[in-house]
């Protein structure tokens, strides 16, 4: 046995983890090696003294009964009155237990909010149509005029405004939250719609997004 192994065995012996066969090997080495024997004695003393010093200080650190009681009292006094609001904890636990439902509920809330937010926004005049068509349109306050003699080739969508059609529109005309005035000279080849109710508007959004997705 070399000295390195012997030192390792000494530590294991002090940990109480050396079996009897290994212990015999260690003993044989210690009888032959003066250096290791000295280390062994020092380590054994260190171990015993550390244990003794640490354990005796428990009995001997001068903690009076008053100190102990005072600490106990201040521990108990510093605890929060209620561990937490139980209903909240139960709610939070519920969220953890049903992650799918939680996600669905959050999704629904976000959808409803965004729907109302986009429906009930301020009365800004919004016009959409193809770029060529928009050049010919006349805007007067919140009135959108398709002048006489002009022919719009695409669709026209107006939000929050009045549409006066004096010319011709070959696409659809849709008015949301507004009015449509069709002059005697005006002509709309496609469909014309006036929408001012949330449900209609919602339906319009849904169908239009579908018809955009699916080419007709």
């Amino acid at each position: 046995m070399n000295c390195k192994v012997a030192i390792e065995f000494i530590h294991q012996y002090l940990d109480g983890e050396l079996d009897s066969k290994q212990f015999e090997q260690l003993q044989t080495h210690l009888q032959q090696c003066e250096g290791c024997m000295k280390t062994y004695e020092q380590l054994e003393r260190t171990d015993a003294l550390s244990r003794f010093a640490l354990q005796s200080s428990i009995v001997n650190t001068g903690r009076s009964e008053a100190d102990v009681n005072q600490l106990k009292h201040s521990i108990m006094a510093n605890l929060p009155k209620h561990r937490h609001a139980p209903s909240k904890a139960r709610f939070v636990r519920w969220l953890y237990r049903y992650p799918g439902l939680t996600a669905a509920a959050v999704f629904l809330v976000v959808m409803v909010f965004s729907f109302f937010a986009s429906w009930d926004h301020d009365a800004k005049l919004i016009i959409s149509g193809s770029q060529d068509d928009l050049q010919h349109i006349v805007i007067n306050g919140n009135t959108v005029i398709v002048p006489e003699g002009v022919e719009l080739t695409g669709d026209l969508v107006v939000e929050n405004g009045i549409v006066e059609v004096k010319g011709a529109v070959s696409g659809n005309v849709t008015v949301i939250d507004g009015q449509m005035v069709l002059a005697s000279t005006g002509h709309i080849a496609g469909q014309s719609k006036v929408i001012d109710q949330a449900l209609d508007w919602f339906w319009y959004k849904v169908t239009s997004s579908f018809s955009e997705v699916i080419p007709q």
Partner: protein, 188 residues
């Protein structure tokens, strides 16, 4: 798992203050001595004990029976002590022995702990030397040595508390012991 302790935890969870007080009674002084040995300061040791119980109280529902209650509470307290030792370190090293005052290190110069208890004086010179040597251990060895020796915890239990494999704990005990041997070699 200690039946009494798990019973007390269950009662405390239902809001039974007396049951929690019982747990305090069981562990307060054990934790105090551990913290005192780690930090070498009465006030800080008391603070650690207090904070440990506050954390235990607030996290009772997270405690599960897969761990011994003692392991759990020791883990919380040890982590608090290690945090404090770490925060202390960058200011100035308490472990460095002062050149001006032979044999005095930073710990003996902490002003906040002037409440030297009369019976601490009863400590023998030998014990004082050993405590001084333990105080100079680097925190990772100090923690292991204190947990191992102060309450005779097994290597496995120390490993559970520190959330480390037993082989690591063994290595640290060996190195810590070696460190102490060299410190004490010429003094005892």
């Amino acid at each position: 798992m200690n039946l009494l302790e798990s019973q007390l935890v269950k009662l405390a969870l239902k809001g039974d203050q007396a049951a929690f007080a019982e747990l305090v009674e069981l562990y307060q002084e054990k934790l105090y001595h551990m913290a005192y040995r780690m930090l070498n300061n009465r006030q800080e040791a008391e603070d650690v004990v207090q904070e440990t119980f506050l954390r235990v109280f607030n996290n009772l529902e997270r405690y599960n029976d897969s761990m011994k209650f003692s392991t759990w509470i020791y883990r919380i307290a040890t982590n608090l002590c290690i945090d404090r030792l770490r925060k202390r370190k960058p200011i100035y090293s308490l472990d460095a022995e002062s050149t001006e005052y032979e044999g005095l290190d930073g710990y003996s110069m902490i002003p906040s702990d002037d409440r030297t208890p009369e019976s601490e004086l009863l400590l023998s010179e030998t014990q004082r030397i050993i405590h001084q040597a333990i105080d100079t251990l680097p925190p990772k060895y100090k923690t292991v040595m204190i947990l191992r020796y102060i309450h005779e915890l097994s290597l496995q239990e120390v490993g559970d508390i520190l959330d480390m494999p037993v082989t690591t704990i063994k290595t640290r005990v060996h190195r810590g012991r070696e460190f102490l041997r060299k410190k004490l070699e010429h003094r005892l």
